[in-house]
Amino acid sequence: MAAIPNVRLSLSSKAENVLLVRQALSGMAETIALDPIELNDVSTAVSEACNNVVMHAYDGEAGPLEVDISLLPSGLEIAVRDHGVGIRPNESDREQFAGGIGIPVIRALAQEVHFDDLSGTGTEVRMRFDVTSAPTLEPAEEEDAPAPLPNADAPIASADLLRFTVGPPPLARAVVPRVLAALAARAYFSTDRISDTQLLADAIVAQAQGSLTTSSLSVEVELQPRDLKLRIGPLGPGQGEAVLQAATVDGMGPMLERLSDSHEIATSGGLETLNLHLSDVR
């Protein structure tokens, strides 16, 4: 039974992206009221697995780093994948002898760990964590498969580009603003604009809910200094405009337009994406 992940992050294997994974985990922890010590365990183990990809998978270069977070009835399953040569099961023992502590840390903190060689296309570390606060969200269902933005399958090749998919909505509400705020901080936004980015993320999550063609929300982010470009979807026909209109505060106009510098609705294959551009120019 291949569970559909509640959160999928498609990143480049840059050290600074591991922070985004931790922010997503913190958001998830908030949603399911996870004990802070258990969050610390999960966060530490997952960071070790990600750092391993950052340091070893691509021989010093950057390549795709994918993280799937799934809520199970009794805990969490998290998979960290690369398309290169990350941790191999037989190397894990060698690493222990050699003085590395990444693998022992993961083994000590997760209840179950699998290292999979993805037949020449990469490596996957799959960790299961039992948690005391039973997740209150339903695990994502089959039809919720992240089916996502156009080009969503293209591997992330650039450090300035990333994609993430989150569902169902209560989880998106906690995860999307956190991840986007962290990106705004990385893009050298002022604290004013970081907060605006959170407000914008809140509005997107709330208003897109009824307009998505899946129960997961996908966001693609292109990051430049003082500049964020967001693509949000997958929205049904005509729904981009509906989202913009719905995010209107009485007497104050459309919020998404106020908070962003510009916006457009792009159509591809019958689906729409809402593209928002945020900058911080002083």
Partner: protein, 266 residues
Amino acid sequence: MPGTAFAASTPSIIPGVTEDPRELFLRWQRHGDASARDALVKRFMPLARSLARRYGRSSEPFEDLLQVASLGLLKAMDRYDVERGHPFQSFAVPTILGEMRRYFRDSGWAVHVPRGAQERALKVRDAQERMANERGHAPTANQLAEYLELDGEDVIDALQAIQAYETVSLDAPRPGADDDAGAAYVDLIGGEDERYELVELDVTVSSVLGHLPPRERLILKMRFVEDLTQTEIAERIGISQMQVSRLLRRSLDQLRALTHEPGEAR
């Protein structure tokens, strides 16, 4: 530390710890040889240090965490069974992490926001105000990190914490309020609320907006009608930008909840 993970296991290049750890464990565990114990501590302290750094994640003072990790290391050295042939690390890592977990439990870490995190959130809030005043515009997270000599991630977490824990920003003393004990934000807000009642809003107070207190309506209007930055709003109202941020977020959530029934697609 790239490159160290797969480095050759022996011999150690650390001066004074070139001896075979197996020998050292036997000398310590069977004969109580203190010099062997010292050599083991020296050899494996980097492991404890590294775990304290990785597992602690800065919510507690590093020195405290290191002390706890060292205690875990000593326990692991006493209990490790050389004869079983497993490397010491694979036994020591869970022991040390277990010790740190216990410490977190005992210090109430699971119930409360860690003290260190709270203090840091306040520092970030205060520094934000100070820097915004000095420069006339809000600082970036990086500038705050540099100013406070914090990790960038700590600042991001602090910004989140202020959103999440209302009491952190509301009940804390205002900066420079030492001689004016007890003057917290809550008091000032309470005092100023009456003034807001007198403010004429040109915004049509629709039935939905009417559910919000006047101060919240004013902040919304300043941000979305007058297009002021949060820092400018903060100055005019006399609260912190972080609080403006939190109030805006909460107000907009309330408005959404009032406008749309859950699940209604509009």
